[in-house]
């Protein structure tokens, strides 16, 4: 399983990627939508974990762009903001079960990743 973590906070994604690697998951990370699109073009990923609120290309938009190009990819959303709008669009795009609120529990993230992959 190969996943891509996308969040504008470097510290967060980098640490999260390292932690996942301890658990046997190959994780790359990107800090912007543009970088993420480049990474996706270079290699193939099974799942993208996307922060909804990001500067320039937002999480929802990014998901649409990637889903169009790589239909096999699956997505999990993260958000630090629990606004109604985020929740609604996030759960609509990925299903309420694949919507995580920060701070994210690593075990929960693992559980979700496995679930998504099985789907």
């Amino acid at each position: 399983m190969r996943i891509l973590l996308i969040d504008d906070e470097v510290e967060l994604v980098s640490t999260l990627a390292e932690r996942l690697s301890f658990r046997g998951i190959e994780a790359d990370w990107a800090t912007s939508g543009r970088e993420a699109l480049e990474k996706v073009a270079e290699a193939s990923y099974d799942i993208a974990v996307v922060d909804i609120k990001m500067p320039r290309i937002g999480g929802i938009e990014l998901k649409r762009m990637m889903a169009e190009k790589y239909p096999h990819m699956k997505f999990i959303f993260m958000t630090g903001h629990g606004s109604e709008e985020d929740f609604r669009t996030g759960s609509e795009e990925a299903g309420a079960a694949y919507y995580l609120v920060k701070p994210v529990d690593i075990e929960e993230l693992m559980k979700k990743l496995n679930e998504v992959l099985k789907r």
Partner: protein, 579 residues
């Protein structure tokens, strides 16, 4: 006065503290007074003026009517009296002209004439024939007056001078009042004789007493000295001086008002009867005459009083009704204004909470991952394993982050739902969420909170934010009512198919009975000193109404208060627009 208190409208003691310098515009008592005075004034002043004018006009017309009637009576009676004397004088004149002195002087002639006069005209007592020297040459009657000389008597001089004489009344034979009439017959040779008769007055007594008069009326005759010539009912006996003064001479009938010695108002009509010494008097009691007016006056005043009462009643009722309507409209306006203000405030608080939560969340997430990584290093890398103390520290950091994360999540969820519309809500979960805000306070104050759900409680359709506020308010009130160590019991159970019942019972200070009816009114608060706005319960009730639910309260001072909230399982769709 308890009756007045219950009748007192709600706006009476109301003062709009927020009105400031525009307080006059919201002084409903003043508004009411102004309305009552103006309307009553406009209605009553013309009514009272008309009544006063009508009163005087009617009184004056009745008075002048009475004067006129008296004057008419005097004139008519005067005419009758005048004819009475004229008739007898004419009869005597005729006899004197028809016969000459010699014929009248013959024995038996006067007897025959007296007999004829008594039978035809009536009222004659005796007859006498007097020569130019004043000697009574012939006489027929009850006295022996033959040969008496009258030349020195006043009446004889008078008749010689003026040709006719009518005497005052005097008591004659058998104490019966009499009058003398004498006529002079001038002969062609320059000589003359006088023909004299005595009349008894019964005839014209009857004439006067036969008059029909109202108002204790009295008709009588006096002579120029004021002596009564005929009997009077109230003003003296015959030939006595009348109790009334002699009125001044006037050629025509006169009527005037005067008070007698007893202070009673009299209406006096009089007329000097020409060619006689008599004055005809008609006297009436004004009070008696005005009796009908008194009755009319009472009716008029009664009607005026009733009209005024009815008008005042209608005016007061109308003013109260209208001002009350304005007052209620104003109250609604204020409540709406505050409601909007409150909703805005809540929305601001929500936005602020969301912002804070979000800002805290990102660094929190980083701490979480970093600490997680440290833990991973200890767990997965051989080089770091085994240090139990460090592992414990990292676990402590992670559990704290978890707690902080729970708080931000709660804040976010709370703020998120403030503006949210209808959704399906698990009541127990929602109440638990709200109760979590009170956990710390309850712990400090050792308040025992119990939440119990019995029966099968369906998820209800409702507005989460408003429902949260409803319970937040109720729990908040309960906590302020309770002493430390109190009990707060919350029970949820299905009421019927369509409704769920939530009871919130505390064992706090309770609510006095007189306040119980008012607690749902806006701005009713017993905690104004400690920062209560008096809006909590009114908003609670409002929210519940909007959601199709309702709230009731039972309380016993000293024992505690129980609020019962009834919520419909499904909401009417129209409420969505309000959310």
């Amino acid at each position: 006065m308890p009756l007045l208190k219950t009748m007192k409208p709600k706006f009476w003691d109301y003062r709009d503290v927020a009105a400031g310098h525009r307080e006059q515009a919201f002084n409903f008592r003043r508004m009411w007074k102004l309305t009552v005075f103006l309307t009553a004034g406009v209605a009553l002043i013309p009514l009272i003026s008309l009544a006063i004018i009508d009163y005087h006009v009617t009184q004056r017309s009745i008075e002048s009517e009475n004067l006129l009637r008296t004057a008419r009576l005097v004139s008519n009676t005067r005419r009758t009296l005048f004819f009475f004397f004229a008739e007898r004088r004419a009869a005597m004149d005729f006899i004197a002209r028809q016969n000459n002195f010699v014929a009248l002087n013959q024995p038996g002639a006067l007897e025959q004439i007296l007999k004829n006069l008594k039978e035809s005209i009536g009222g004659f007592t005796d007859l006498g024939l007097i020569d130019p020297l004043g000697n009574q040459r012939s006489y027929v009657g009850p006295f022996n007056l033959l040969g008496v000389n009258y030349s020195e008597q006043d009446w004889y001089r008078e008749v010689c001078k003026r040709g006719v004489y009518i005497s005052d009344v005097f008591l004659g034979f058998r104490q019966v009042p009499h009058i003398v009439i004498a006529v002079k017959r001038s002969l062609p040779n320059g000589s003359f004789y006088v023909f004299r008769a005595t009349l008894d007055t019964r005839k014209f007594d009857d004439l006067l007493s036969g008059l029909e008069m109202g108002g204790q009326g009295d008709a009588f005759i006096i002579n120029r000295e004021g002596k009564l010539q005929t009997p009077s009912l109230y003003h003296g006996k015959v030939l006595e001086k009348s109790s009334l003064p002699v009125p001044e001479y006037a050629p025509k009938t006169r009527v005037f008002e005067e008070k007698n010695a007893d202070g009673i108002s009299l209406i006096i009509g009089y007329r000097y009867v020409s060619d006689t010494p008599f004055i005809l008097m008609v006297v009436k009691h004004k009070r008696e005459l005005m009796k009908s007016w008194q009755e009319t006056r009472i009716e008029l005043l009664f009607f005026l009083g009733i009209s005024m009462l009815v008008i005042l009643g209608v005016v007061i009722w109308m003013a109260t009704y209208l001002v009350n309507k304005i007052f209620l409209a104003d109250q609604t306006r204020i409540a709406t204004l505050h409601h909007v203000e409150y909703a805005n405030k809540m929305a601001s608080i929500g936005r602020l909470a969301a912002g804070v939560a979000h800002e805290v969340n990102n660094p929190l997430a980083i701490i979480n991952e970093k600490a997680g990584l440290i833990k991973d290093l200890f767990t997965f890398k051989k080089a770091y394993t085994g240090d139990e103390k460090l592992l414990g520290l990292v676990d402590a950091i992670l559990s704290s982050v978890k707690r902080a994360g729970a708080i931000t999540k709660r804040l976010l969820s709370f703020s998120r739902h403030i503006e949210v519309s209808i959704e399906h809500i698990d009541l127990k979960e929602l109440i638990e969420e709200v109760l979590s805000f009170f956990e710390k306070e309850a712990e400090y104050r050792s308040i025992l909170i119990s939440l119990e759900a019995t029966g099968d409680i369906p998820a209800i359709e409702s507005n989460r934010g408003k429902l949260q506020e409803v319970f937040l308010n109720l729990f908040n009130n309960a906590c302020s009512a309770m002493e430390d160590g109190g009990h707060l019991d919350i029970r949820i159970r299905p009421k019927d198919i369509n409704n769920v019942l939530v009871t919130v019972a505390d064992d706090g200070c309770g609510i006095p009975k007189e306040d119980l009816e008012r607690i749902f009114e806006p701005f009713f608060s017993t905690r104004t000193e400690t920062g209560g706005t008096g809006l909590g319960l009114s908003l609670t009730a409002n929210f519940l109404r909007e959601m199709g639910g309702r709230i009731t309260v039972e309380s016993e001072p000293g024992k505690g208060t129980t609020f019962a909230v009834i919520l419909p399982v499904t909401m009417e769709r129209k409420e969505e627009n309000d959310a």
